[in-house]
């Protein structure tokens, strides 16, 4: 679990939304994939598709690549192509504003922050805990890496899970 690469992904997402890109790619890894799927579940990004160095073909109706495209299909991972795989993310915009706001790392490669359920409850209620600021703005999310994958902080509280804090999305 490289937080260095994750930090690069966060910066890249910020740059891509500022540049108003509709589709962008990040290096493929299991952590990145899980985080992107969590972001997609929260509605921050429209699609996550694993593809090669070139963007996967667009869905004829939706206008962005989809993982369950029946016509084109997704190329399976093999030992030969695994190094060249990338995750292609569809970015969303609403009323001239990027839906994905600022993505910020909370844990740093040199300082990992873990939160238990008690601390997470405080954070979700908007208080500071373990040097992690509370979620105090509408639509603010915090993503944690837990035993059951990458989850949003509120889901973690629901499932009574603690974990490593990855990033904050505003």
């Amino acid at each position: 679990m490289s937080l260095v690469n994750l930090a690069a992904v966060c910066s890249h997402l910020n740059n891509a939304t500022k540049a108003r890109l509709g589709l962008t790619s990040i290096p493929n890894s299991n952590l990145h994939l899980k985080l992107c799927q969590a972001l997609q579940n929260s509605g921050y990004i429209s699609s996550v598709v694993r593809g090669g160095p070139t963007p996967p073909p667009m869905h004829p109706i939706l206008g962005y690549p989809t993982a369950n495209d029946e016509i084109e299909g997704v190329e399976p991972i093999t030992r030969d192509n695994v190094a060249s795989r990338r995750l292609w993310l569809g970015l969303k915009y609403w009323q001239n504003e990027s839906v994905l706001g600022k993505v910020q790392m909370v844990s740093k490669p040199t300082r990992r922050i873990n939160l238990n359920v008690e601390e997470l409850r405080r954070v979700v209620r908007g208080h500071e805990a373990n040097h992690v600021d509370g979620l105090r703005s509408p639509g603010e999310s915090l993503y944690l890496s837990t035993d059951r994958g990458v989850l949003e902080a509120r889901e973690c509280v629901e499932k009574k899970l603690g974990g490593l804090v990855l990033c904050r999305v505003l």
Binding site: G43, W94, E97, V99, S137, P138, G139
Partner: protein, 412 residues
């Protein structure tokens, strides 16, 4: 079909009221039967006679034959034959049956109030109309000769010291028709009579209040005429506000200093004013004015502030949505939402802005520089940069639920 049942919170099933029926007696306004039963309906319809399940409030022993005293009392009211009939009637009914029948109704059609229907309440039970016997279908209008006769009688019977009141009385009493008097004055009508008499209404202000309001209006109009300037007139024209509204806005001049323009003729000093305007209920604007005259600069800035007024998003009309930041020049500040009753724990400039905008709970931190002018501008920028939760929900395609609203209806 239980449309009459109130929607209940799913979580409130434990705190449900003990009685299922409405506790406040009231009229039944809807024709469908209210169903106060929460138990699931049995498969086989239960047919039960009205009042069968209700406990009888009377016993057979309660109904006793008349005593001698009572008979003597009845004898004063009734003749001997009538008394005999009454006693025969009483004897014909078994006291057991009487006890069984005399109980409170339990059926869905029962009334929610106690009434023996001995009195007709006008407006509730039915409209009180004059009786049909007042009608006279054979009335005739008086002819001219009849009226001449009436007038002749009036003048003949006129006293020596006659006044206008005499004629008014005569005119009131003068009848226009021959026939029953009630037919003309208080005739029966199929139309529903008004609940109010002539000139009566529920909400018409009293004459005194109306008068004072009119006087007030005159005063205001005279004030307006004095104060109306070209600048104010153009402001009213541009914004569509009335002079009254403009007077009621909360105006405050927050920054005032002089500025200097260096020309080849020398330094030209002018007064600078920065004002804010708000209506105390969600509108806020800032305006700057510069002029040789300080008072001129002030009015200029105030009018510009009124023109610039924009709605500030407010959560529960008291605080802001989320924490926001603003940065103008070297001033960067952070506004933080706070719970009800927290108050405005902010520095004076932001305090005045909150007062004008109608924000009651807020905390702020101004970092780096604290330049007055830029603080006001940065605070305005921060207030305007709030994100609407509805918009966020639309953008993300996810529901966002305000838990306070759901669980406490915003009353905490």
């Amino acid at each position: 079909m239980s449309f009459a049942r109130p929607a209940r919170c799913v979580f409130c099933s434990f705190s449900r009221a003990a009685t299922q029926s409405t506790r406040v007696p009231r009229r039944q306004f809807h024709p469908s039967l209210p169903q106060f039963n929460d138990r699931p309906k049995p498969d086989v319809p239960v047919i039960k006679a009205f009042g069968k399940s209700a406990k009888s409030s009377a016993k057979a022993t309660d109904f006793k034959p008349y005593t001698e005293e009572e008979k003597a009392y009845l004898a004063k009211e009734y003749s001997a034959a009538q008394l005999e009939a009454v006693e025969a009637g009483e004897a014909a009914i078994d006291p057991k049956d009487l006890a069984k029948q005399l109980n409170e109704r339990d059926d869905p059609l029962k009334l929610n109030y106690v009434d023996d229907f001995s009195v007709i309440e006008p407006g509730i039970d039915r409209h009180v109309r004059s009786p049909q016997s007042n009608s006279d279908y054979n009335f005739k209008f008086k002819s001219e000769d009849d009226f001449v006769q009436d007038f002749g009688r009036f003048f003949a019977e006129l006293p020596d010291d006659a006044t206008g009141a005499d004629f008014a009385k005569f005119a009131d009493e003068l009848r226009l028709t021959h026939g029953k008097e009630e037919n003309e004055l208080n005739s029966h009508s199929a139309l529903v009579p008004d609940l109010f008499g002539p000139g009566e209404t529920l909400d018409e202000p009293r004459a005194e209040e109306r008068k004072t309001a009119a006087e007030k209006g005159e005063k205001e109009r005279s004030l307006e005429a004095e104060e109306m300037t070209d600048a104010l007139r153009s402001l009213l024209l541009a914004t569509g506000y009335t002079a009254d509204q403009v007077r009621d806005f909360r105006l405050k001049t927050l920054v005032s200093h002089s500025v200097v323009n260096q020309t080849r003729l020398g330094k030209v000093r002018r007064a600078y004013r920065l004002s804010i305007a708000g209506n105390g209920n969600g509108l806020l604007g800032i305006g700057e004015g510069k002029s040789e005259e300080a008072s001129d600069a002030k009015t200029q800035s105030q009018y510009r502030a009124i023109r610039n007024m924009q709605p500030v998003p407010r959560y529960e009309n008291r605080t802001i949505f989320g924490d926001v930041t603003g940065k103008v020049g070297a001033v960067s500040l952070q506004l933080m939402h706070r719970p009800p009753g927290f108050g405005l724990r902010v520095q004076h400039l932001i305090y005045e802005m909150c007062r004008a905008a109608g924000i009651h709970d807020l905390a702020a931190r101004v970092s780096r520089s604290r330049n007055k002018m830029n603080t006001v501008k940065a605070a305005y920028e921060a207030l305007m940069s709030q994100r609407d939760p509805e918009e966020i929900a639309r953008a993300r395609g996810r529901k966002m639920v305000d838990v306070r609203k759901v669980y406490y209806a915003g009353k905490v």
